[in-house]
């Protein structure tokens, strides 16, 4: 990050970088929106994936328990699933 330091040294200090020549109120919110939207966009499928897999596991567990019951007690097996 030496280049960044030299940049800051040349332009006075780090504050000048964050000031953006007086346009900080426009530049930084723009970058913030860019990153927030993309972070939300990349987290959403991950959460959905976890939910889908959890539901799937619950369904598999239900089915296997039903099969177990059917195997141990064939008389009260429902005629059709």
């Amino acid at each position: 990050m030496s280049a960044l330091q030299t940049f800051f040294a040349e332009s006075g200090n780090a504050a000048a970088f964050f000031k953006m020549g007086g346009y900080a109120a426009y530049v930084w919110p723009a970058y913030a929106v860019f990153f927030i939207v993309l972070i939300v966009d990349s987290i959403a499928p991950r959460l959905r994936r976890r939910r889908v897999l959890r539901e799937l596991r619950a369904r598999i567990a239900r089915q296997s328990s039903r099969q177990d019951r059917a195997a141990s007690n064939p008389i009260i097996t429902p005629p059709s699933l």
């Binding site: 280049a3 960044l4 940049f7 970088f17 953006m20 020549g21 007086g22 346009y23 426009y26 530049v27 919110p29 723009a30 970058y31 929106v33 860019f34 939207v37 993309l38 939300v40 966009d41 990349s42 959403a44 499928p45 991950r46 959905r48 994936r49 889908v52 897999l53 539901e55 799937l56 596991r57 369904r59 598999i60």
Partner: protein, 252 residues
């Protein structure tokens, strides 16, 4: 031997194969996106000199213009996938088209917001009704319409086909909207980048822009693959390969 490419494509089109393929490629695409993004940010925010007319405010270009390109690029991808989905009824194409829509909507939203934040100091207004801005807004509504129509159906595949049809209608519509608004009113600055001719932008400012363009492209691939993988799991819930994945991830 000449038909190995269609065969390979055909295999890739099957959900379990694509699931594995996307899973292998996704981390690389994300890594490249982060790498090019970091280079672009460093080049754009630190190395590039301030513009002699716009000062430092022009630095919004490094996210605004790549997002605008992506908003159109993703619509084109969605349109092609929608066409394939309607003509060949390929499940993977349906999924790609429908999962592209939220990413495209995200980039369109970014384009509108950053453009607004750029326009305020430069033109003195948050919004103006010129052709490019209005087309972008219409594009956002098209994306939202596609997403809304997809979720309005109870049957996911039927919803995907209906929404794919809407996406294709939209492709015809965007140029018409652009032309009609152009006819109506215009105030926007001319195009600054021309890939085939002499650019009006200096190299110091151009390379971070191109780097960010690559970053957004790779990000799209990563995000799309992640979404498509999830959607395939949800769609193929009853199949064996999905059950194996569900069980193996439970053990971890």
């Amino acid at each position: 031997m000449s038909n190995w490419i269609p065969l390979w494509l055909h295999k890739l089109g099957s959900p379990p194969t694509f699931y594995r393929f996307a899973g292998a490629l996704r981390p690389w695409a994300m890594a490249l996106a982060l790498l090019f993004g970091a280079i672009a940010l460093y080049g754009g925010l630190v190395l590039a000199p301030a513009d002699y007319q716009q000062g430092d405010a022009y630095r919004i270009i490094f996210i605004h213009v790549p997002s605008a390109w992506m908003s159109m690029f993703i619509y084109a991808v969605m349109g092609v996938a929608a066409f394939i989905a309607l003509v060949w009824r390929l499940k993977l194409a349906e999924v790609v088209a429908m999962e592209s829509a939220p990413i495209g909507a995200a980039f369109t939203f970014i384009t509108l917001v950053t453009g607004s934040l750029w326009g305020k100091p430069m033109w003195g207004t948050w919004w103006t009704w010129d052709a490019r801005l209005t087309s972008e807004l219409v594009l956002l509504f098209l994306y939202l319409g596609v997403i809304g129509l997809y979720h309005a159906f109870e049957d996911r595949r039927q919803g995907a086909r209906a929404a794919a049809f809407l996406a294709i209608i939209g492709i015809i519509n965007v140029p018409i909207v652009h032309f009609s608004v152009n006819w109506w009113n215009t105030l926007h600055q001319g195009s600054t980048i021309n890939v085939f001719g002499q650019s009006k932008i200096s190299w110091d400012m151009l390379w971070p822009l191109l780097s960010m363009m690559l970053a957004t492209k790779f990000y799209y691939i990563a995000s799309l693959f992640s979404r498509v993988r999830t959607d395939l799991l949800a769609l193929e819930g009853g199949k064996d390969w999905v059950r194996k994945i569900a069980e193996s991830e439970a053990r971890q």
